[in-house]
Subunit: 327 residues, 2 copies
């Protein structure tokens, strides 16, 4: 079993990569701008540069492979990324063959959806370590998710499982970007949550939020709400509790379907921590059938972005373990 | 590989059992009243009688084992049923040991939740035969469900997965029996669907339904709606379309989470067929994120109750196949 692997996270703004030790976690980390506007060829070159530098930093023959977390759809064979949002002109790119030919080596390259990769990182290095199965939900610009079942990513029929952000909690509710009415993303997506707070603050001239944004409501964000909440601002606390309530509703639906009762919450908006998670914990059992109400837990993933890099590297360790017949 | 197995379906009113041929399906079927009011000991005796008769009817040494579909919670080891609704005084009964001691043989006994068993029957003998993975939803007194993933029952963490009937489509909607607000069962459960139609028919004196129930709205049922719909009654067609619309909404949520795109609909209310299923087919894509909208299919399970008996027997075949390492 190789001791090292390289994990890559493809973001719309920045590319990140890390050299990961199987037991130690992240040993070395590096980043560069994605420069998505220069097209997929350029992005692949950028990735190749990061990976080459980190591979060289590892002991000789110690690298199990390269794991990549990518936005957009990943094919069942885990080679190819199609239509990632935010990367112009990227129709469909086989990252495995592109990287293998550029790196001129035969290291395995495994690609996986970025939300699934974050869940895998959580499973082996983060808040999900102590359970076999959990539902990961990431609250950021959008709302993403992944399912870890018996320590593996549950991929569904084509590799697209875990799209919890598009589950509806109100079939006649507001539309999310996906066009799904009442999808949880239409409440918790950063843009939607912010818009809701902006609408509501009109009746709260006393709120600390007004001072924090210095009168410019364009500056209102989940981060500002969190800051105001920690200062005891009731309006901000109410807004985050409203979000947590919605979160609990959708998680209830997911628990009913999966009988997976541990939930790990990641993503930028999860920085609001218990201001969102406590209301979600309160409401969750009310949206779960009585037979599945025991042992419900909602944890926050504290690893932040590192979950993705660790999970990406984990893909490579798993690939190797499957080859040698261990696990 | 044994050629035969016995499947049992524990209902609140009747017990059913069948001798099933691995390739032929149901060879012989038998039933008796559950007599649930006489308590679990009596019910177990009734089951034993059915199983003994069918085992005797099989060729010598041809029976792989006994599979049982039961309402209520089934433990992870598939031996024990707890708190089945409608069977008074049944707290927790280990059916495997109870049957093995009474039958005085060592045939394997495998117990599974009844909705999961119906899904397994569909997977190997019914509408689910041609796909590896599908979501089963049963529309009856309640709304149940099961998930078949890669030809196996997806059991979740404790064996309770597939409770699609308790997923919400409106977090501020009406309560189902489970106490979940806006759970799909609160719209499609037989009692709820009937109550909705009864409320609405007041404004439709012209409806054929009025004649069919001879003025007694207590007689209104999904079956009556279906009958009226086939006679061209617009009110009845509208009611079933309303139900189908709700069905499509909840199925959308399930598809988003699982990336399983084939749905099989069973249970008594599914007899209304395309009057419910066509509206569900229309609405389903609108509740699925664009990346998962291709290849969505909703089929009706035509096997009826036989799906449960076939699925129960299939449990025994699977148990044997796992033992001998084939399959």
């Amino acid at each position: 079993m190789s001791s090292h692997a390289v994990g890559v996270d493809i973001g719309g703004t920045n590319l990140k990569a890390a050299l990961v030790g199987r037991d130690e976690g992240i040993l070395q980390q590096t980043t560069c701008p994605t420069e998505a506007e220069q097209g997929p060829e350029h992005v692949v070159s950028q990735i190749t540069g990061l990976v080459a530098a980190l591979s060289d930093a590892a002991p000789p023959d110690a690298v199990a492979g390269i794991g990549i977390g990518a936005p957009g759809a990943v094919n069942w064979a885990r080679t190819t990324v199609s239509h990632p949002p935010n990367i112009k002109g990227w129709a469909s790119v086989n990252l495995r063959s592109a990287l293998q030919s550029r790196l001129d080596n035969s290291l395995p390259v495994i690609v996986e959806n970025d939300a699934n990769v974050a869940a895998l990182g959580s499973a082996f290095y983060g808040a999900g370590q102590h359970v076999d199965s959990f539902i990961m939900i990431t609250l950021g610009t959008g709302v993403g998710g992944g399912i870890i079942y018996q320590n593996k990513i549950f991929r569904g029929s084509t590799g697209g499982a875990g799209e919890i952000g598009h589950m509806t909690i109100d079939h006649e509710g507001p539309f999310a970007n996906s066009g799904v009415s009442g999808a949880i993303e239409a409440y918790l997506g950063q843009k939607f949550l912010t818009a809701h707070a902006r609408d509501r603050i009109v009746n709260h001239p006393e709120s600390t939020v007004q001072e924090l944004v210095e009168g410019d409501l364009e500056e209102l964000s989940p981060r500002v709400l969190y800051e105001a909440a920690t200062q005891g601002d009731e309006f901000a606390q109410d807004m985050l509790a409203w979000a947590g309530h919605k979160l609990g509703c959708v998680l209830g639906s997911a628990v009913n379907l999966l009988d997976i009762r541990t939930i790990v919450v990641g993503g930028g908006v999860s920085a609001a921590g218990d201001y969102i998670l406590d209301p979600a914990r309160d409401v969750l059992p009310r949206f779960v059938t009585p037979g599945l109400r025991d042992d419900l837990h909602i944890y926050r993933e504290e690893l932040g972005n590192e979950a993705s890099l660790l999970g990406a590297a984990r893909l490579a360790f798993e690939g190797e373990d499957a080859q040698v017949g261990t696990r």
